[in-house]
């Protein structure tokens, strides 16, 4: 039998027992001046057990929720990523802002090939890739052959580091394997208005058109500090104003990729 608590309304004396005392021992107030202190029932939300159980349940619920969402949406997301990659490849071929990406890709890009050490191409028979960085690292050098207006174009995927994170892109070359037909860049987290212009500024990407990538057997296409490009040189392109670090990243990326593809480019 739990004891109840009674509080004297006059002086605040607290009596413990089955019922209120006849008289308050401090101020002699009668029994009617006492009232029972009712403690709130319910869960004690500050107890250790409750806290631990709460945390555990919360973690499990959230984990299941996240797994469920991620699993149910995965196939759609993967399809979107594939679609986006194709869109980027088409952008390098100067085919931008198309709604039916998949259809145009299938009719334009003829084959996904791999470069062998001697520079010849063999058909790639794996699944369509969306991460050419890991492919590049594992030695699978992809070359897409495409046909635009009856002419053969080669698209080479590129990967590198910008100022804040990864940058990547695709460079399309004419049949001579030297003249740039088109180029596309994208990035993970470059500064909006500055480094991000490599993706946003079509003008910047168009400034590569007609440039040459190889001179005397070596990769020669360079991105230089904005305004410093020699207008008569077929190998130099102006960087993005105010984004020297990102432009340097683009330059390093182009150089790295072109150097790896030299056997193909020089063939």
């Amino acid at each position: 039998m739990a004891t109840k608590k009674f509080k004297c309304k006059v002086c605040g004396y607290v009596h413990e027992g089955k019922q209120a005392p006849e008289q308050c021992p401090l101020c002699n107030a009668p029994k009617s001046e006492f009232e029972e202190i009712v403690e709130k029932k319910g869960l004690d939300t500050s107890s250790n057990v409750y806290t631990i159980v709460y945390a555990a349940v919360m973690v499990i619920v959230v984990a299941f929720l996240l797994v469920f969402v991620s699993q149910t949406l995965k196939s759609r997301q993967d399809a979107n990523v594939v679609n986006d990659t194709k869109k980027q490849i088409l952008s390098a071929l100067n085919i931008r802002n198309q709604s039916d990406v998949s259809g145009i890709y299938d009719s334009t890009v003829k084959a996904d090939m791999l470069m062998k050490a001697d520079g010849s191409l063999v058909a790639y028979d794996g699944e369509f890739n969306t991460s050419y960085n890991s492919e590049f690292k594992s030695g699978n050098l992809h070359v897409f052959t495409a046909e635009v207006d009856g002419q053969t174009k080669y698209v080479i995927p590129m990967n590198g580091q910008g100022l804040w994170g990864a940058i990547w892109g695709y460079i399309a070359l004419n049949e001579d394997r030297n003249t740039v037909y088109g180029i596309y860049f994208s990035h993970a987290s470059e500064t909006p208005g500055l480094g991000a212009e490599i993706k946003e500024s079509v003008k910047f990407q168009e400034s590569f058109q007609g440039k040459k990538v190889v001179e005397n057997g070596q990769a020669a296409l360079k991105v230089v500090k904005s305004g410093k490009a020699d207008k008569n040189s077929p190998y130099q392109v102006d960087g993005v104003t105010g984004a020297t670090m990102t432009s340097n990243g683009v330059d390093a990326m182009i150089n790295k990729v072109l150097s790896s593809y030299l056997p193909f480019l020089n063939r």
Binding site: S46, Y50, T51, S189, E200
Partner: protein, 206 residues
């Protein structure tokens, strides 16, 4: 009661603005305001996330153990942001690419934790929803004002469209490169606070 709800929505828009009065969310206000478009996108996403997490925390508020309440709030916000970003990735891929940079900034945005701790833990879901929307919009408003000035004077554009005509450049006008840099955003936020204080004399510190 109706009055209190109205207040929850209207106060944060100006009198109790999260950025210029509560000084919350300054970091992201500096990071995403070099152009109008990211500022608008960020403002709207924060509005949606604050409103939703405010409602969830408000519904749970009586069950949350006091000692781990910050962790609970953080988990709710992080889970919510992750789920929203997954859904966007599946159904609105272009939007999710736009947002990808800001997802992390949303989770760590002080406005979220500030509003959850200061408002949603004490108030019912409906008021919390209004408070979330109000604070999100108040935040968005400041972002857009700052981004407007920065994009106009920094790149001569608004929402990506050239607004300062070419002949100005031909006559020697130059874009102010400093406007694009983060310190300028801080100075602009300072100017907004200055104007705000001069209109609200009771907030001035003696």
């Amino acid at each position: 009661m109706a009055n209190k709800k109205n207040e929850a929505l209207k106060q944060p828009l100006w009198v109790n603005n999260p950025v210029v009065v509560q000084i919350l969310g300054i970091c992201s206000a500096l990071a995403v305001t070099s152009q109008m478009k990211p500022a608008i996108v960020m403002g709207l996403s924060v509005t949606v996330i604050v409103a939703m997490s405010n409602v969830i925390i408000s519904l749970l508020r009586n069950t949350i153990p006091n000692r781990i309440r910050i962790i609970v709030q953080l988990v709710v916000v992080a889970a919510l942001v992750t789920i929203v970003s997954e859904i966007l990735k599946a159904f609105a891929y272009d939007v999710s690419v736009q947002l990808s940079v800001y997802i992390g900034l949303i989770i760590t945005n002080c406005i979220l934790m500030g509003r959850l701790e200061a408002f949603a833990m004490q108030n019912g879901p409906w008021e919390s929803l209004l408070d979330g929307i109000g604070n999100g919009l108040g935040y968005a408003a400041i972002l857009i004002v700052v981004a407007f000035v920065r994009e106009l004077f920094g790149s001569g554009k608004l929402l990506g469209y050239q607004v300062i005509p070419q002949w100005c450049y031909d006559h020697g006008y130059l874009n102010n490169g400093f406007m694009i840099m983060a310190p300028m955003a801080l100075i602009l936020v300072g100017c907004v606070i200055w104007i705000h204080r001069s209109k609200n004399k009771d907030l001035q510190e003696k």
